[in-house]
């Protein structure tokens, strides 16, 4: 890290979007300070840095905030050129951005509500992988891998709660292998939240959603 460079990440322990940012910075060997937000009592700093959405993650680089995880990932890739996350060729870059956007649109955290649909979308996502190449990024972890591999953890937990196997090795072998390869990478694995806590958190979240749905009928 260059002297005087200040990199901070405002995040939340169970957020896959914050995880994306940590992963991007780790892969680039960029040192950063991590600040855990209390989402039930958002800090003045968060509200100042992301007044539009008031959400994490937010990257703060030398006093300048960047919000929205995929926007942050592009910023990180453009600012720190080592270990590029996006491919060089414009068409391949467009394809990578396409799949990252697909993950955001189809596999949001509300996958709890629509697990069957989410499973179908994962089958579509599988089509973005090439036989013989371990990652969306080809031989090395790239933009889409960072954007999507959280599903390997969160999907498994959702599957356990709702009884549907989301990341199914039989139906989506390439995707399963890709996610596993990313999640087992030590540098990235150490960023993952503890599984037991994540499971409890997801169960509570689902109960809240179901209570809200029942209350509105």
């Amino acid at each position: 890290m260059a002297t005087g460079e200040e990199v901070k990440v405002l995040g939340y322990w169970s957020s896959p979007y914050a995880l994306r940012v940590k992963w991007a910075l780790k892969l680039k060997a960029v040192e950063f300070d991590y600040m855990e937000e209390d989402l039930t009592n958002k800090s003045a700093l968060l509200l100042q840095l992301n007044p539009v959405h008031k959400k994490i993650p937010v990257l703060l680089h030398n006093g300048k905030p960047v919000a929205e995880s995929l926007v942050i990932m592009e910023y990180v890739d453009e600012t720190w050129k080592q270990n590029p996350l996006l491919p060089q060729h414009p068409h391949q870059r467009a394809i990578a951005r396409f799949w990252a956007k697909f993950v955001d649109e189809k596999e949001g955290e509300e996958q709890e509500k629509a697990a069957k649909e989410a499973r179908e979308h994962l089958k579509t996502l599988e089509s973005g992988l090439e036989e013989g190449k371990p990652f969306f990024g080809g031989e090395s972890i790239g933009f889409v891998d960072i954007a999507a591999a959280w599903i390997g953890v969160w999907g498994e937990i959702t599957g356990e709660i709702v009884g549907i196997k989301l990341v199914d090795e039989e139906a989506m072998p390439l995707l399963t292998a890709c996610f596993q390869a990313v999640l087992q990478t030590p540098l990235l694995k150490e960023c993952l939240p503890p599984r037991a806590e994540l499971l409890e958190h997801s169960k509570r979240f689902r109960q809240k959603l179901m209570a809200a749905a029942a209350a509105s009928t």
């Binding site: 929205e68 926007v71 592009e74 910023y75 870059r93 467009a94 396409f98 697909f102």
Partner: protein, 201 residues
Amino acid sequence: MADELVLLNVWPSPFGMRVRIALAEKGIHGYVTKEQDLVNKGALLLEMNPVHKLVPVLIHNGRPVCESLLIVQYIDEVWRNGYPLLPSDPSRRAKARFWADYIDKKMYGPGRQVWLATGEAQAAAKGELIGCLKVLEAELGDKPYFGGDSFGFVDVALIPFYRWFSVYEHFGNFSTVAECPKLVSWAHRCTTERDCFQVSS
């Protein structure tokens, strides 16, 4: 080798318009537009955009690019010597991407609901839409364009929806110029000052 460019589009699409504006700003006029039937989708569309089966799709030398904002970025990266649609500074690029994303995530949905829904759903959408337009107007501030002095990515992302303002106003029963006068001035500025709007579409 001469570039072969084909645009799969439907003429009313604001998303397709973004692509047409981007190409025009780069001085690219020699492309074929294939008007699509979105009810009975053709084989080419299904082949070029199998995931979403939507327009616009830009096919460049046989290779498809989908999703309007991704196409605009692609155009900017391929024709990098033409008019710059995105700034060069990463921090400003991030800001541009953030606001383009905001338009798609926060404005498009409520706008559509104002047009198509009724009753409470429409009323809620109207509140959301006007709120969103005010946020955009605040971001614009006193700048001539969202990009600052130059027409750029966010302007390209938003300006096609200007022709939809009258639809939202009609169905939502409100006046954009009353709620967001600066935004309307910005829209007039874009449509009168940019060459691409002087070309008949």
